[in-house]
Amino acid sequence: MFEIPWNVIAMQFFFGIALGCIFVLLSSGMSIIFGLLDVVNFAHGTFAMLGAYAVFVVISLSGSFVVGLVSAVVIVGIIGMIVEFLFLKPLYGKDPLLPLLLTFGLSVAIPDLIKIIFGLIGKPVNYPEALSGTLMLGSVIIPGYRLFIILFTLVALISLWLFLKRSDLGMIIRASTRDSLMVQTLGINVSRIWTFGFGLGVGLAALAGAIAAPMMSATPDMGVDMTMTAFVVTVVGGLGSLGGAIVGGLLIGLVVAFTAFVAGEYSSVSMYFCMALILLVRPRGLFGEQGRE
């Protein structure tokens, strides 16, 4: 009775990678924010939720899914920059608990604001028509949208990598992650880099939310789970490491997908179990740096 055909396993693997891709986008944003600002963003999933709503609004206005995805990143990125500028900036250099409390407060307040504007019930986001079909790869059935998620994430991550490695701004971000005071002494206004970095981080969260929206529809409280997932992935992969976010995200995606397949009721617990296991073996996470001062 435990004979599971290999093509079903291959399909679960594929589902897991697609789910993992969403987690990767989510937690690479969190990783950038933590690395650059030392802020643990409790509202990260909330910004992903805003991304889902942004894609809903833009699609209903423009009719185009791609336009929706791009504008979700831009809109939420700008909201993030405003939030950082108005609320987070005054808290730097004070008690490190304060930014944490602030983002926690945002994670409560923003969903309520969304409920007032859009109502308590979620908004469905349709799959784009071209991607709603399935693909047969031998005897493995591949849903078109999941394939799109994987390819899209790949493109997004390569662009992010090129941006960080090749552009001047990316170089400043990498440098500021390690020594922002020295970067400032070299004439660079680090305060603006922080604002941009926070916008970039929540923009990535918004991309995750927007791309996930057709599979789960946009609901005001979807951010809670996404924040938790981002935490788990970041802890598994190692705080502040982009490579860790990628490996951790894919790993957690696979764990959740396979658990959902063999024992559906345990699927959401499985990632915490996986996290506990990894922390027992390697307390700093897979790719984490050894304690920084």
């Binding site: 170089m171 440098a175 005071l181 400032q184 070299l186 660079i188 206004n189």
Partner: protein, 238 residues
Amino acid sequence: MLRLEDVNTYYGYSHILQGVSLEVKEGEIVVLLGRNGVGKTTTMKTIMGVQPPKSGKVFFLEDNIAGQAPHKISRKGISLIPEDRRVIPNLTVLENLRLGSLMHTKPDERDGLVEMCFAYFPRLKERIKHLGGNLSGGEQQMLTIARALMGRPKLMLIDEPSEGLAPKIVHEIMEIIKQLQKDGRTIMLVEQHMEIAMRLSDNQRAYIMEKGQIRMCGTLDELSCRMDEVVQCLGVKV
């Protein structure tokens, strides 16, 4: 070029700089001597805006820059070479250099500046693709000075370049600092050891600090004539 007038700087409640006044003229090397913990590094940080003064004035090219943010002071043409070097460990040598010039130069000027840095420090050229964190202490010191040069500073604040380096490397770096002055740069140098400072040139001036105040000043020749007092300020090791 640079003039500090009655500068007072605090770390929390402790009064570190107690009415420091000094002057650096264009083209000269001024050495700030003193024992550990007398406020030499704090003086540098105060000028750079990293540890702003509570009172007093810092004039640079006749502007009072006291209280301005470090990046604004940097853009005015002051460059700090900190004692702990602060090479960005996750950037390559070339990226570290480019970082130093981003806010000070146009993109087409940067390659020329990199070449100039390699002329001063040929060893950096061999390590151009290495990460800053993988360099030896001496190489990091060279990179820090080169990174400052990339911004074409009008005034270089060099904080204890000899710290923790082998005598041979110290000699090498001191030769470069001499060369920098000959090439027309203005330098303020912090040093603990007078014999290292003596190697630079004979007509340079020095300030000797003690307990957050300037105790003595003059050319190194003048100070040599008052060796007894100097020894008292600097401790046994002169």
